[in-house]
Symmetry: C2
């Protein structure tokens, strides 16, 4: 063996041995975490209470208020080092009476269809709104039609999700613009109302709400915007082909109520070595008002709480301070996420890692990472630790809406999002069927264990940004 080769081999053996011991230790800890989660887990019982005893938690609602009080109390019971509330002003929007809608065909034949107001929409007049309908597949098509074809009409956005895409969040991303900005664009062309196909793969009777924005349209120009169920959308589309002159009627009494005070709920285990460096794990405590928000994002809330509980349960003392943050107002304002990042910046709290769970409580498949090459390569070296738990899907991309604001104020922060199986998510998302019975106990628990394992590994092996390494490495 020549000298160069020999040196290479020596290094390989040394690195190999220490890597092996490290991997063995880690694999034991990870196994402990999963066992605790699957046999003595708390997340499912927590979610049962949050969903069935508290229920929906739209920002500014009584449910949101109760969720704040209850999660704070539960975190206190869990014996964390600190638990507190972080005040934040949030928009309050209320749905009012249940919406009504129907298609009016020839001879005044009426067919009811299920709709719901989009979050943030203005109401119709109290007698409702009745007008002809123009169907489009998106904002581009609407703009091409121009004012002469839109003025005085209800615009019906009917672009479906793309079923070919394996990752359903991509299909969601391909549709959500018509829900968010469709009313604003239609109003600019003189439309009197907007009906948007529910963003779901499933062909069923449930309208799916979600946030929308009028941008800087003056209040007088704002038009009522509703989601229609996919079956309703298909019926409306077919009816329009048979009778382009049909009228659509709907009535909504939703209302924007200004701003009210609410809270992010925060709990912390203080780090043993780096108490002033922070890792965050979180989900959002608010939900839409339909259903009980079990998948979106009750699951992420209880899983994040469980991460800290699991660390204590397996006797792991984190080196960095670890916080669970239950963010308020992800759905219609992101005020909680912004507030948390602002205050962290104001206090000079250096955040090195944040993980969000906001994609449903389904079987975890992996994570998406927003990070540099150095940390992504580190993460990839952990793949074999996750394989026994059937976690294979490590990608680069987005993380979570609530933790996003931390990026601008924390140089080199690693952001991550839990990626559960996404096939069923949009069946439930923002609809009356986002309920506790649609969550499987083991799937939820596996997600919590997977998150905890990642936080554990980050706590030990995260590659800190060069500028945060205080002393140069000595050889």
């Amino acid at each position: 063996m020549n000298k160069v080769l020999k040196n290479i081999f020596t290094v390989a053996v040394v690195v190999g041995t220490s890597a092996f011991a490290k991997a063995q230790n880690d694999s034991i800890t990870v196994r402990k975490i999963y066992t605790e989660a699957l046999t003595k887990g708390q997340s499912y019982q927590w979610l049962d209470y949050l969903s069935n005893d508290i229920g929906s938690r739209l920002s500014g609602s009584l449910g949101a208020e109760r969720a704040v009080t209850w999660t704070k109390a539960e975190l206190e019971k869990a014996g964390l080092d600190k638990v507190w509330l972080q005040p934040v002003m949030v928009p309050k929007w209320v749905r009012g009476e249940a919406e009504r809608a129907h298609i009016e065909g020839e001879n005044a034949r009426i067919t009811s269809v299920p709709i719901c107001a989009l979050g943030g929409s203005v109401a119709t007049k109290s007698v409702g709104l009745r007008a002809n309908v123009v169907e489009v597949m998106g904002i581009e098509e609407l703009k091409a039609l121009g004012e002469e074809n839109v003025k005085g009409k209800i615009v019906f956005y009917n672009r479906p999700m793309n079923d070919e895409l394996i990752r359903t969040f991509q299909a969601y991303g391909g549709c959500v613009d018509q829900r968010y900005a469709g009313a604003m664009e239609a109003a600019k062309l003189g439309a009197v109302g907007v009906i948007v196909r529910s963003v779901t793969h499933s062909i069923d009777d449930y309208p799916h709400t979600g946030s929308m924005s009028y941008g800087d349209l003056p209040i007088s120009k704002r038009i009522p915007a509703a989601a229609i169920s996919t079956k309703g959308a298909n019926l409306l589309s077919t009816s329009l082909k048979l009778n382009p002159e049909l009228k659509f009627f709907y009535k909504m009494s939703c209302k924007n109520m200004g701003e009210v005070e609410s809270y992010n709920v925060i709990g912390e285990i203080t780090g043993s070595e780096f108490p002033n460096k922070y890792m965050v794990v979180g989900g959002h405590l608010d939900s839409w008002d339909l259903g009980d928000g079990s998948h979106d994002d009750g699951a992420g809330v209880v899983q994040s709480m469980e991460v800290l509980r699991l660390m204590k349960a397996v006797g792991y003392k984190p080196k960095h301070s670890i916080r669970v943050v239950l963010f308020m107002n992800e759905e219609n304002g992101l005020r909680g996420g912004r507030k948390y990042a602002e205050e962290a910046k104001a206090k000079g709290e250096q955040h090195i890692f944040a993980l969000e769970s906001d994609s449903g409580g389904f079987t975890p498949r992996g994570f998406s990472f927003d990070t540099d090459d150095r940390n992504y390569n580190e993460v990839l070296s952990w793949k074999s630790l996750f394989e026994p738990y059937l976690i294979h899907d490590f990608t680069r991309g987005g993380s979570g809406a609530d933790i996003g604001p931390l990026k601008a104020t924390n140089d080199g922060i690693v952001l991550a999002g839990l990626r559960p199986d996404s096939q069923r998510y949009f069946d439930h998302h923002h609809a009356a069927i986002d309920t506790f019975d649609a969550v499987n106990k083991r799937e939820l628990e596996l997600g919590a264990a997977t998150m905890t394992s990642l936080v554990y590994l980050m706590d030990n092996y995260i590659q800190k940004p060069a500028k945060l390494i205080q002393a140069p490495i000595k050889q």
Copy 2:
């Protein structure tokens, strides 16, 4: 560059280029298969009919008969080259009246609990059976107790599934002996009846049936065997701790009715190059009588039918003959699987590959292979083709019960089982909640596309056993 290195690089480039072109072609075909399955798939509509219009399909039942007739007709409509029925004699067992059971405490206080007869069990006397109970965690513990502690009593097997195991089929395997052989072993020690904890992770009110056997016990020694729901089992266990003298009562009128004729349903696309070499894809057409057998194994039935339909839909002409086989009587006899292998052997039909889907219609995660190293290595080289569809889990192990008998009679056959996400499977398995509403359309369709892709790759790249290669390779 020295000469040896240069040669290595040249080979690598040549192999690389051809492998690249091949991989590109394959990736286009696989994408076509998934797109067709997700946008124009037939499996979900088929399952809707099989589950909701036909319903449960226990061997020898009217449902099984209707399922045979209907699936044959659907395969004929799909335009396969051949469709036929293969007669097979199957055991017929009927449940009779709904079972009743209760715990009798002090002062004749009665608490009803949900039970169901295990498949193949004898009935109780018509007045029911009432006796003291001895709880054990398994057959070993029963044997250790011995006849003096068992005689005249009802044996209550209460070993739960091991929640720590990530692959739930392993946890099932760790419990199913008490259900299958528990009555036989208890009868040998003089027990008068057997109650078995349902094999499910979920703590609920549904008893889960399943097959059991008395071995060669004479009929006079056979004792009635029932499954109790997990909540019922927990209640019985707690009640026994408080009052070891309580009595358990149950009444069942199930009956073994001898044998009747039924059928495997078979469809074929004849191979363009090797018409006398066969590949099989299948599931089992029979189900238990509780629920409608949507996951077990309606899903496997419609997915297997869909494999052949998808091949035609994407315009793929297989080189080998491909058969869909809908096996009868997997649940309580495996007669269909045995019959198919026997006839194939008698006719000298060489089978080179068989794939079964019998683990539920959930998101596919991968396959388990029962094969030699050569073919397993070939399979591993396809991993990157499956990754875009989030199929990562390739393991060696079992395949499927129905295709198992082909192994003994087809040297070198590759056997495979589809491995969907297994977290929810045992919640539904063999219980009244194995119903169509528990199947997600996309998850089912993804399974069918994943199976079709594997069959396509096997059709092109399977490594045939040395003895089947007719001419020696010439250099």
